[in-house]
Symmetry: C2
Subunit: 396 residues, 2 copies
């Protein structure tokens, strides 16, 4: 029996282990020309490929499917490992697996990479069928709504008529809300986590500065860099800005404080003196190896455009939710200053005013917006409890 | 009689007008080689030139001098105008002038540009006496303590034995605290505003990302860009990051919300759709015309290094203040999340534990850290009141 050390947990490759074990990335292509998929910015896009993974088994009644939606830089690899000696499990491995919060003994879990990303699904780094090179800025703007429509095509393809649950944090939570509005008949329950119905000026500001950092890099070259040097320096700065907003003042104090990085005194130069400087530089560098700068631009802009009130409610969030039929668990974290709790309360109130069954839980956590990506027992327990209770009802 | 339209006020060039009127930038050079001024990073620096302005008159007893310390990107031009048709008065013009918060009928006001800056004082963009070009990264690291020692040389030069008050916000507030510790006999009263005794990990993080944005710009060229193209793109991004931290979530909501910039609908491209995007781009562009990227690097690093506990208190802030003799007015703003109120409370408590006379005032303001630069009556009134009462005491 092999044992993998994963974060603070240990998973094992035997049938009783808590990991889903070996998993495989799959691809679904649709909207072949001349059809294409209509998109919000006008026109049609196609063919579209969506990368996805599944865990657990779809039951004979096909009523046990859960769609997991990832955040800005996530991917379809939400749980398990790719090969025996893979030390990097999926990004929500602590949440998804046999006996876990999203229990794969019971549920069939689907996670797909969003349209516009670069982790297997069609995006600005994909080959442009009209040219002999990647799209770059010729890729059309896609919205959170477009991402959800592409997910819906995948769910249709998998033969799932009704999703038992759609769940996700941050931009993943935006997708959850879009699903409930666009396809009210197809979502039994929904768990939007640490999310918002529209970015505040502050959130737009952080995204805009990140984009400016990328576009200031001469290697960005108006998005046409795939044959040359990538805008790594700009993308690293963009990632560092993002990272600050994912943490909290308190978590940074606990994690780094003013501790120096392998030195007793100040260097009096521009090296990383403080651990927090070193951490940010490291995060920036790591990111450029796995993520595409243009995808970062497109997805942050889609998040900035996202505005349920404006798009579906003529200015009213209550109206935006009027056709929604799902039951909800809304989760926020006390120290999230990117999408503060009051925004989750707004969601909860607007849903309740539509007579929906909504539970709201603000979790006490020091770790900021990124809390949903951390193995907090409280989050796992309430998700597990909510899913279990909702599933008993539809199965009884 | 001429009338200048300045911000929301009107100043007039007659003796009863509320502006100090026409002012002039002066220069003081000291520490000529071979002497030089010892600096914290080791060695000596010289000659040093300090740009400064003065308003009002030094009284015969020379006990009415107030030193105003500016923040990161400020300069010595704190009040008045340079010429008759100058529409841009000093950065604290609403505070300094006849009858104003710092009343030039009564006080002689000095404001000098900090060492390391680029607004007339010696800094990385100044000519390096050892080479035929500006210092660039050959400029030695200077600390807040060094900046204050250079100010002290100027104050000596002006024949002022004791400063009636040292006042400043943000990095200016750090200088205020340094003055009180380094020269306890020479500061009668002190007003540190919206400041801290040491940067939190969050503040260091924002500064570090700003520095990385500059250093990621190939035109930065390791600080050696004075003969070529300046790293404007990187510096603009750095300024944009700073600007976000100077505002608050609430002030951005009020000022911009999600309002679009001269358009009815989203552009679906990377133009500035939202007003907040346009504002930040504008701030970035404006800044590069007047500020030097290397100075930005040096001053932010000095602010990150600033740590009174570490430098003067062997880990204790109370001990750091043990030789201080001034009386204090400590001011913070409710919405300042860069240097939150609790940091000003820490200052107040540590001063009080040393038996000092300290007033603390947290001002209710939505506008974030930058509040001290805005004409808030509350701030002006309490500064005026404090100065007036303290001055009566020493004059009686």
């Amino acid at each position: 029996m092999k044992t993998y050390k994963i974060r603070s947990q240990t998973i094992q490759d035997d049938p009783n282990a808590i990991s889903v074990g070996l998993v495989e990335k799959k691809y679904f292509t649709f909207a072949e020309p001349p059809h294409g998929m209509p998109i919000d910015s006008g026109g049609k896009l196609g063919p579209i490929t969506i990368a996805y993974e599944t865990y657990g088994r779809l039951g004979p009644e096909k009523n046990n499917a859960i769609l997991v939606c990832h955040a800005l830089s996530g991917d379809s690899h939400a749980a398990g490992v790719y090969h025996d000696d893979d030390s990097k499990p999926g990004w929500w491995d602590f949440m998804i697996g046999p006996g876990k919060g999203i229990d794969t003994h019971r549920f069939f879990v689907v996670c797909s990479n969003i349209l516009g990303s670069c982790m297997g699904s069609t995006g600005p780094s994909s080959p442009n069928p009209d040219e002999s090179k990647p799209f770059g800025l010729n890729f059309p703007f896609v919205t959170i709504g477009d991402m959800v429509r592409a997910q819906k095509a995948l769910i249709d393809h998998l033969g799932i008529k009704k999703l038992f649950c759609v769940i996700g944090g941050s931009i993943g939570g935006m997708q959850v809300l879009e699903w409930c509005i666009q396809y009210p008949e197809r979502v039994v329950s929904a768990i939007p986590i640490a999310t918002t119905t529209r970015h505040s000026a502050l959130s737009i500001a952080f995204n805009e500065v990140s984009r400016q950092a990328i576009m200031a890099d001469p290697n960005w070259n108006h998005g046409d860099y795939y044959a040359g040097t990538k805008p790594d320096a700009g993308l690293a700065v963009a990632r560092m800005i993002g990272h600050i907003t994912y943490l909290s003042d308190e978590s940074m104090r606990q994690k780094f404080g003013r501790r120096l990085q392998n030195k007793e005194d100040f260097s009096f130069n521009f090296d990383a003196d403080f651990q927090v400087e070193n951490y940010l530089r490291h995060q920036g560098k790591k990111f450029v190896d796995r993520f595409d700068a243009n995808s970062f631009l497109y997805i942050t802009k889609a998040a900035d455009y996202f505005d349920l009130k404006r798009q579906y409610g003529s200015g009213s969030l209550v109206k935006a939710f009027e056709k929604v039929k799902s039951r909800f668990l809304v989760i926020s974290f006390t120290s999230d200053w990117l999408y503060p709790t009051f925004q989750s309360r707004d969601i909860t109130q607007a849903l309740k005013k539509n007579g929906l069954d909504v539970s709201f839980c603000e979790i006490e956590a020091d770790c900021g917006h990124d809390a949903f990506l951390l193995p907090l027992n409280r989050q796992t327990d309430i998700i597990k409890g909510f899913l279990s209770s909702a599933y008993s009802e539809i199965s009884s």
